[in-house]
Symmetry: C2
Subunit: 246 residues, 2 copies
């Protein structure tokens, strides 16, 4: 590899091709990790609503793979920096990737919590109060996650801002589900425990949406230098207008 | 700065001193960010229990400063890597710092949520059911945070493992508080809304403990290469025995 450190034009192009390939490999690992967390969210939610213990166990077990993927991707990030000494933007991109793996790992934790609720609830949960809203929210946040990672792979500010806007929409299913569950508790306080389990599951799904949104915020900051946390909807919509992305 | 890139021994020592100074500056920024989040946790909990709206507002406002600190420390991390091209361990350390800033920023989000509960609750929350447990949990997780950052500054595996063990203890106050609140809902379902607000506040404080524990896990991984997530208490205690740290 030593010849790659020489300054001749041919060698530099060679470095740059190798760098591009390695960066592409890291991005693919990130998408793979994202795909794994999406499957985990789907399994965990299915388990919660069907009460299938084996599906729930499978979702819980996936957490270890996802943790391992975080460690491996972070190692890839450190190695590419050490070997290729990337320029400013690429360096920031790689540090961002190491931060995104944390969000994906935390998504795995939340999906695992949903699956654990399924394991607890199978015994004593005959009625699922907010089933439709839970399913809708799980689908919504999974989509947000897929779109956030796709936006990351393409460094698309436009797609990232759309994910952040979608997070505001996910509140509708969350709020509606919570209202049903709170009404159920008021009507029959004996259902408190099982309703609380469903409330925690809704809350975990909502957090998954927040993590997808955090990934989107990273992209916008990386590309535009704007810190878009706590921006209101109107300001976010402005970012869509100035974006060069179609 | 160009002379620092030469290979003479004197210049290399000069680089190494500069690097050590800059790294120290980043660590100090991280501790400062941690100190700010500790203050925010204290203010938010005080506001929740006293109902003081101005204290709550102050805690909510601190969130922006904390976000800004994350951005600045991440920039410092990218700059030191670009300028000093640190060796393998230091590179991993700096990437870890950029991951720790995310945990601190999320702690700020949780503290802000506690403060927002205070703003909501002041109007309609005459009785604070789990006041003692909430105060105890807030104190406990603040201490965990301070000790996690201190362990990070010293790269102490021993101190980091003790933070992870302390996270298990924090469950006692969380569980006891939750039981009181659930009993209160069962006794008087009309108190559901205000009890739920207190439940969310307990949950946010519990998350702060989780983030402190995440910081501790980073340290152990960085120093020992062991992924200590999901390790049981006995295995963690073994790490204390093998640690060279007193």
């Amino acid at each position: 590899m030593m010849e790659e450190k020489s300054g001749s034009l041919g060698a530099r192009q060679h470095i740059s091709t190798r760098f591009a390939e390695e960066l592409e490999a890291i991005k693919n690992s990130l998408l793979e990790m994202g795909g794994k967390t999406e499957s985990q969210i789907r399994l965990a939610t299915e388990a919660l609503l069907s009460g299938a213990g084996d599906t729930a166990e499978e979702a819980v077990q996936m957490d270890r793979d996802i943790n391992q993927m975080e460690v491996e991707i972070d190692d890839q990030c450190a190695r590419i920096i050490a070997r290729r000494q990337p320029a400013a933007f690429d360096l920031r991109l790689i540090i961002s990737i190491a931060k995104v793996t944390t969000d994906l790992e935390r998504i795995g934790d939340e999906a695992s919590k949903v699956a654990q609720m399924a394991l607890k609830s199978t015994v004593r949960l005959p009625v699922r109060v907010a089933e439709n809203h839970t399913t809708a929210l799980a689908t919504h946040v999974s989509n947000m996650l897929r779109r956030a990672l796709d936006a990351f792979a393409r460094l698309s500010v436009d797609a990232a801002v759309r994910v952040m806007l979608a997070n505001k929409d996910s509140m509708e299913d969350y709020d509606a589900g919570m209202q049903l569950l709170e009404a159920a508790i008021r009507d029959n306080p004996a259902t408190l425990k099982s309703c609380m389990d469903q409330i925690w599951a809704l809350r975990s799904l909502d957090r998954i949406g927040d993590h997808a949104s955090n990934i989107a915020e990273q992209i916008v900051y990386l590309v535009t230098g704007s810190d878009v946390r706590h921006m209101d909807e109107a300001t976010l919509l402005n970012l869509l207008d100035v974006s060069t992305d179609s």
